[in-house]
């Protein structure tokens, strides 16, 4: 069950030109947000490799948000289209291994959509909070962090 006191950790991968700038605009407009998201800036959604998401879960993220320029608005023309095609497969793959849609989110947020960014971030945080801590990954993370006795 969802824990009232649970504060989810959300790792976000955002493109420099649209979403990062949109998040800047949210800041400039002093639009308040929950403090659970951490943004990692890349030039383009095209740069976002699915291994980033896996690594994010390995390092303890409870949810992941990937965001970039709207279709047709990509600063690099087509990076977001290639990214989208990648996600179509990857989100199904994650779902198949038990990493559900409720923990993996995608959005298009333009440089002018400061308000949308706030809504997206808060929405994702709320959804993951409801989902609770990612126990499955926490368990295998712990196993890795504390290996059982190692024979020398």
């Amino acid at each position: 069950m969802a824990n009232e006191n649970f504060e989810p950790k959300i790792t976000c991968f955002v493109c420099n030109w649209c979403t990062y700038t949109g998040a800047d605009l949210a800041g400039t407009s002093r639009l308040k947000q929950q403090p659970n998201a951490r943004l990692i800036r890349v030039p383009c959604t095209g740069r976002i490799d699915p291994v980033f998401l896996i690594k994010a879960f390995e390092t303890g993220a409870d949810g992941v948000l990937v965001s970039g320029c709207h279709p047709a608005d990509c600063h690099y023309n087509t990076g977001n289209y290639h990214a989208r095609r990648r996600w179509i497969f990857f989100r199904e793959l994650l779902n198949t291994v038990g990493i559900p849609e409720s923990r993996v989110h995608f959005s298009w947020v333009s440089a002018s959509e400061g308000k949308k960014w706030v809504d997206v971030v808060n929405g994702v945080i709320d959804k993951v909070r409801q989902e609770g801590p990612f126990e499955g990954y926490k368990k295998i993370n712990n196993e890795f962090a504390l290996p059982e006795e190692v024979e020398v």
Binding site: T28, V42, R86
Partner: protein
């Protein structure tokens, strides 16, 4: 690696919600950090000196600045780092203002987040490497898209500075909407009298290559190095042979089949036509949709009368490719047609005004033609239906503009002025006529603008009524205009002879397509977007592409001309250097591990990935690998993410850097 961390309070902007001293203290303990301090204004001179001093004294290899967004001051701090002798790319920014202090209230959680953001940046900078900006040559040649007054001005400015310009216009003649206007506010100069010399200057300028009846088909490349393909539509007339004598136009038997576009449909034109007498170039065009030859293969009258054998029925569209350094977009506007609701559009239209149904309910541009000395009535104010002098004319402002419910939220800006001008021109020509203007507000900001409107009201007795018109209908040969006078608080009914609607300025319908071709963002109305509304109003987010005139937003002639000159100046700034420095954020291939699947080549939007043969000592090809053309790579990193073996890496955003960032979290 010795790393220094510098936390900025940004006055109170960061300091109010983030405990900056605590962040600096926490950062001091991060592995690799040997220096950490906080300061009130890191971007100020003393702040920058603090950084420089620390770099020199502690021999720092890299620095992290916790401050505002990297979009704000990354360049500043890179410069400071360079000033202290380290490579400017050994700098990372933790965004503690826009992404932290400004969006949170709670000091403990904001401080915790700020520490994490700083840690991410520290972990990233560990894998930064010294980079040298890429230098690419600049093609000192401009492309101007659109031959209205904005495009003309931009082209002339650049050409007069001594650089070549390719001016592309989709219509058969340059001149744009300004060539259709009668007189211009607030001076009432004759529009064509001031425009035509400019058009001729463009035509005769040795540095300007004029391509009319042409459209941009494809754009490749990047700032300083665009390759633009232009489609020259088939005129049916050989440009090099035609002398513009006009005999073909006179003899064309298909006289009045097509609406004359230049006259806004108030007159007809033949199948073979020159858009208007002052057209530049003065070359006719065959309208293939109405010409008899294209229907039945017969007639050929134009061909028979042409002494130069310039008529070419078989002419096909042709393509030219131009090397271009900078592009100025000046595609202008269109008037909103308001008769019916456009398909697939939330716009409702103004069916109740009867535009398109009543011949004498016309729009602003149509009135310009009626008032123009070169227009269908030779400047006499005659209404279209029966060529009688209208004795009572109603002008309605804000048709489509400032109307969220039925039109657009924005103000079309020029209508207040041109409506005053229309009413004034009407009164000057029809002394006993009555002119009424329905308005919402009068927006007459501009030199001599307010005075101009006052003159219309006070000297020319134009009656201004504050209010909206609800309905127009025909009764006994009159147009009954039902409106409201919100100041008097009563209903107004006027039996008008003619109604002129100041319809909204809208973006060219093809603007989004062009914008996509150019990689320039546009708003929901199709107006192209500048990079910064205040400080970079003519630049777009695509380097080397600038905006001029009404393609950006509704604006009048002087504003368009000023913007065009500004865009030209931006292009000339670019042409001021032989080489262009570009961010060295580009992809690099590890030829040793590249398996040559070339998925990177498939995803590259810039054709920047080439195939390179790796040979052994005997000169035999042992494998073919990917190779990045540094001049073309724009640094999106899509190849990096696509490469299964990670043999392509994006410098500045390498896997190691991002890996470290992710691992630095939580």
């Amino acid at each position: 690696m010795k790393i220094g961390v510098f936390i900025c309070y940004c006055g109170e902007n960061i300091g109010r919600t983030v405990d900056c001293a605590a962040v600096a203290q926490a950062a001091a303990k991060f592995p690799g950090v040997i220096h950490s301090e906080d300061y009130k204004y890191m971007c100020s001179d003393p702040g920058q000196n603090l950084i420089k001093q620390a770099i020199r004294e502690k021999q720092l290899d890299a620095i992290v600045v916790g401050s505002c967004s990297p979009h704000m001051h990354e360049k500043t701090f890179r410069k400071a780092a360079a000033g202290a002798g380290i490579n400017p790319y050994m700098v990372e920014i933790a965004n503690l203002r826009e992404h932290c202090s400004w969006i949170h209230d709670d000091i403990p959680s904001a401080t915790k987040k700020a520490i994490e953001l700083t840690r991410i940046a520290v972990e990233k900078v560990k894998y930064n490497e010294p980079l040298i900006p890429i230098r690419v040559p600049v093609t000192k040649r401009a492309l101007v898209i659109g031959g209205g007054i904005s495009g003309i001005q931009a082209a002339l400015d650049i050409a007069n500075a001594g650089f070549e310009v390719v001016l592309v216009e989709k219509e058969p003649s340059i001149g744009g909407h300004m060539s259709q206007l009668s007189e211009t506010f607030p001076t009432l100069d004759c529009s064509q009298c001031i425009l035509t010399p400019r058009m001729v200057e463009v035509y005769q300028h040795p540095k300007i290559k004029l391509l009319t009846y042409s459209e941009v088909e494809n754009v490749e490349g990047f700032i300083g190095n665009f390759k633009v393909t232009i489609r020259k539509k088939a005129r049916g007339v050989k440009e090099d042979l035609c002398t513009g004598c006009g005999l073909c136009v006179q003899k064309c038997p298909i006289r009045k089949v097509a609406k004359n576009e230049f006259e806004e449909g108030l007159a007809n034109r033949p199948a073979m036509y020159v858009p208007f007498p002052q057209a530049v170039p003065n070359l006719p065009v065959i309208d293939r949709s109405v010409c008899t030859y294209y229907k039945s293969g017969k007639c050929q009258m134009c061909k028979k009368v042409c002494g130069r054998d310039a008529v070419d029925f078989e002419q096909q569209d042709s393509f030219v490719t131009e090397d271009i350094g900078s592009i100025i977009v000046a595609t202008g506007y269109k008037l909103y047609t308001i008769d019916k609701k456009p398909e697939n559009s939330p716009i409702q239209g103004y069916g109740e005004y009867g535009y398109g149904k009543y011949t004498d309910v016309i729009n602003g541009l149509q009135f310009e033609r009626i008032a123009s000395a070169s227009g269908p009535t030779s400047g006499e104010i005659l209404r279209p239906s029966d060529s009688k002098v209208p004795k009572k004319v109603v002008f309605i402002q804000c048709v489509g503009s400032r109307d969220e419910a039925k039109g657009f939220t924005y103000c079309s800006k020029i209508c207040c002025m041109y409506t005053a001008k229309h009413a004034m021109l009407y009164k000057h020509k029809v002394h006993d006529g009555e002119a009424y203007v329905f308005y919402m507000d009068i927006r007459a900001g501009g030199k001599m603008y307010e005075e101009f409107v006052r003159r219309a009201i006070e000297e020319d007795d134009v009656k201004y009524i504050r209010g909206r018109v609800s309905k127009i209908y025909e009764e006994d040969g009159k147009y009954i205009v039902k409106g409201e006078d919100t100041i008097a608080g009563m209903q107004v009914i006027i039996d008008a002879d003619m109604v002129v609607l100041a319809t909204a300025m809208v973006a060219q319908p093809e603007a989004p397509k062009l914008a996509q071709l150019l990689g320039v963002p546009y708003d929901k109305y199709g107006f192209l977007a500048e990079v910064h509304p205040k400080l970079r109003p003519v630049e777009t987010s695509s380097g080397g592409i600038f905006l001029a005139g009404a393609c950006h937003s509704p604006r009048d002639i002087p504003e368009s001309v000023a913007m065009a000159s500004a865009a030209a100046a931006k292009a000339l700034v670019l042409f001021g250097s032989d080489m262009l420095e570009r961010e060295p954020v580009i992809a690099k291939v590890n030829a040793g591990t590249c398996a040559g699947c070339f998925y990177c080549q498939k995803v590259c939007a810039y054709n920047a990935i080439e195939q390179k043969e790796i040979k052994n000592r005997a000169g035999e090809v042992i494998k073919v690998v990917a190779y990045v053309n540094e001049g073309l790579c724009q640094g999106c990193g899509t190849c990096n993410a696509t490469c299964p073996s990670k043999s392509v890496e994006l410098v500045g955003f390498k896997d190691e850097q991002i890996f470290n960032e992710i691992c630095a979290l939580y």
